[in-house]
Symmetry: C2
Subunit: 466 residues, 2 copies
């Protein structure tokens, strides 16, 4: 590790600075990460602002701004007439020094990893901080005082209106603002939906098999029996759904990646009406379809029976804790009832900021930007594994894909992933009752752009080891 | 209603502008409210910036800034060389035009009111927008990227540290950051606590009788039996608590307003240890004691058995949806378990902003400022009702007091309050099983300073009618 930089370091590779990102915030983030990771150690001298600006092809003032920011945060020590140096970061609050490794209570419990290909995670380095800050600022500047009182339990009217407009336009949802409910993340929303349908009289719910394990528990906690229905290349087998309740991912089955076929969509809508079903459509990544325009929401086929659910976690960031549902009229009193018991937990300012970012079009812009980025990543992943004979299953969409493994491949893959410090998920743990062939679930959302190639290398190394 | 102002209007009374509040934001808020209330109608001409500045004793530039802000929001039409006029507000988004009346699903269900003396509400016009905006800005500028991923289920480490420091200093809580849990409002926290103690083995919980009705349900929803224990001038009768669980308000019993006596505190701590109890200490307004320094948290007497709970709803604003608990070591695994099922619902940026506002001392400053303001309001209330023979019960603290009524007084008071468009609460609906004498619960937190005298007048009119 170099104790100082030279301006001969033309591309900033040592610090993993992506020269396509040129703001002071981005540069500061890259330098902060380097200090936190130990790539820049205490006392290390940084290049002059002029030299680093020239290296990276950015304005000297941008570098100065980044250095000042980091000096204010305590990462750097700036002295007039002397090189800027890395501060003694042991004295910083511990949280700022969290290692750039990850642990998880889910698929990778018990191992620490450097390369993050866990599915379901977006690239949080792409969170549009400036747009969000501007929306927060506008919300704080213009909200009437009474906005800061106890909020409407189902969501602020401005956000419910903005979501209704957006979901109608982007996902074909039949959404009246009165039917929109805002909540803190999809897990909380599914738990609220489960309590509401339980009150409505639904005692058993079918989920797709395989499906996400932690979402069962949220349904079961409401006192509901959960069973699984098989999934094939046309999505869930609708004929196998015999309960009055269901939680489904029709646009992009999780985790297998198929789309529910048109005939099955129609059959499901008929069945829903005939049996007064209540279905939750989990549209967790509906905005990210790469090969064609996404099919519209299932909800529009049976809006009295289907609750549409979505989240800002993929398009913006999970840290925002913002999710929504569009609820059938007949379920709304039950939702209201249980939302009251739970307390309405979404901060009003964040709700107004989301409404603003939707209304101004900045949300669409971010989705378009990320759609291009994720498509490129998926292409790179498919290309990297093709020479090894892997052909991903599922449609070109979302933030993950499935690599089928040979029988018994999962334990070997887990061991290799641990060895290569790769965070990854396994199909096996998504089983409800049915056995499934072994498979690797590979997320391509989580890494930053500059960390992605190394993560792919680690994946290829793991696959080679099998 | 005047269609134009004259600069002879020396004190701005028509617009209820409080001349002690001199920022452009405050003036804009007052004018916005006047437009929303219909006090300023479409086409009404406003005084020149010079004239209004002179009227209110504030700088002309401040008035100009307020006019510009409102023009940007669509409330005003500014034309060079012509008077600034009120815009056609029918064209504004509906949410901005919500009437300045209130309805409630609680004590005043079914009646609309103008004067808000409901208990439990702070003055949201005093929410420190600028300080909060600055804290949000710092959080967005300095947070590492991974902050925006799925957050720690129990709260961001920086906030847990900041809360531990603050609660130790301000409330005498024995708080290790590892034991601090952050959540979206107190109702969600009590629901989480109830599920956790149910897993711990607690099947019955005692609450004070009287107590807040909507908090029972959150406990009962966890499958717990709730019973009441009598309250007298020394607080809850500890000998009457025979369950292993309890939810108590020792610092300021809600709604009666007494403090738990020292001997009872000690007895409760002994009983908690002897019977392995789990108690939730609801310190809902612990920061607002007016006559002396508040007694420290009960939690410090039995930190293995008492969970301390508090909220930012009173000191900052309910709209933030920020609350916290300090949890005993032995309860922590159960809390973690149930928090995982519920999803972690507090946005990370808000958590970092709260940490910042605590660490910078702006939170303390706001508490001191509001403590003085609420004390003055309580004094004014006591003074206003004294000539009618009313002597409030309970200690000088918090945001509400209790006015005992004669037998059968509540229905008459409710009818009179409805007639006088006064939002107020009744003691009767707080009964668990015991009968209680009739009483009026009067909150003095909710109105703005300029609306408070009229609200007191309405209260006096109601009392006179009895």
């Amino acid at each position: 590790m170099p104790a100082s930089w030279t301006s001969g370091n033309q591309n900033g590779v040592d610090l993993h600075i992506d020269p396509s990102r040129r703001s002071a915030t981005d540069l500061a983030a890259a330098l902060r990460a380097a200090v936190r990771d130990g790539r820049l150690i205490t006392g290390a001298a940084l290049p002059s602002t002029r030299a680093l600006g020239a290296d990276l092809g950015i304005a000297r003032g941008t570098v100065t701004a980044a250095y000042s920011q980091l000096a204010a945060e305590g990462y750097l020590v700036v002295r007039h007439g002397a090189p800027t140096r890395v501060a003694d970061v042991q004295q910083l609050p511990q949280a700022r020094l969290a290692p750039a490794t990850h642990t998880s209570s889910g698929p990778t419990a018990g191992w620490t990893f450097t390369h993050n290909l866990l599915p379901g995670l977006p690239d949080v380095s792409a969170f549009p901080r400036d747009a969000w800050a501007a929306s927060i600022r506008r919300a704080l500047a213009t909200a009437p005082h009474d906005t800061f009182g106890y909020p409407d339990r189902l969501g602020h009217p401005a956000l419910r209106r903005a979501l209704a407009a957006y979901l109608g336009r982007a996902r074909g949802v039949l959404a009246d603002p009165e039917h929109v409910v805002v909540g803190p993340g999809f897990t909380a929303m599914i738990a609220l939906w489960a309590r509401a349908v339980r009150s409505y009289g639904v005692t058993a719910v079918t989920v797709e098999d395989p499906f996400l394990p932690h979402l069962h528990r949220a349904v079961e906690t409401a006192g509901i029996d959960v069973t699984g229905a098989p999934v094939d290349h046309d999505g869930v087998q609708v004929a196998a759904i015999t309960t009055r309740g269901a939680v489904l991912t029709p646009a992009h089955q999780y985790p297998l990646g198929h789309t529910l076929a048109p005939t099955r969509r129609a059959a499901l809508a008929r069945r829903a009406a005939a049996h007064d079903m209540q279905i939750l459509e989990d549209d967790y990544d509906g905005e990210f379809r790469f090969d064609r325009r996404p099919v519209g929401a299932l909800q529009a086929l049976a809006p009295d029976h289907i609750t549409y659910g979505g989240t800002a976690s993929k398009a913006l960031a999970p840290g925002l804790r913002l999710a929504w549902m569009v609820v059938p009229q007949r379920l709304l009193p039950h939702i209201r009832d249980h939302a009251a018991a739970a307390g309405m937990p979404v901060p009003v300012i964040d709700q107004l900021a989301l409404a603003d970012i939707l209304d101004t079009g900045a949300y669409d812009k971010q989705v378009r930007r990320m759609r291009g980025r994720y498509r490129a990543r998926r292409d790179a992943l498919v290309e990297a594994v093709a020479p090894l004979g892997y052909d991903p299953d599922g449609i070109a969409a979302g933030l993950h894909l499935l690599l089928p493994l040979g029988a018994g491949g999962e334990p070997a893959a887990a061991a290799a992933a641990k060895r290569h410090r790769l965070g990854i998920d396994l199909l096996g743990r998504h089983s409800i009752t049915l056995p499934h062939p072994d498979g690797l679930l590979v997320g391509f959302g989580a890494p930053t752009d500059h960390a992605y190639p190394a993560a792919l290398d680690a994946l290829v190394a793991v696959l080679r080891a099998l």
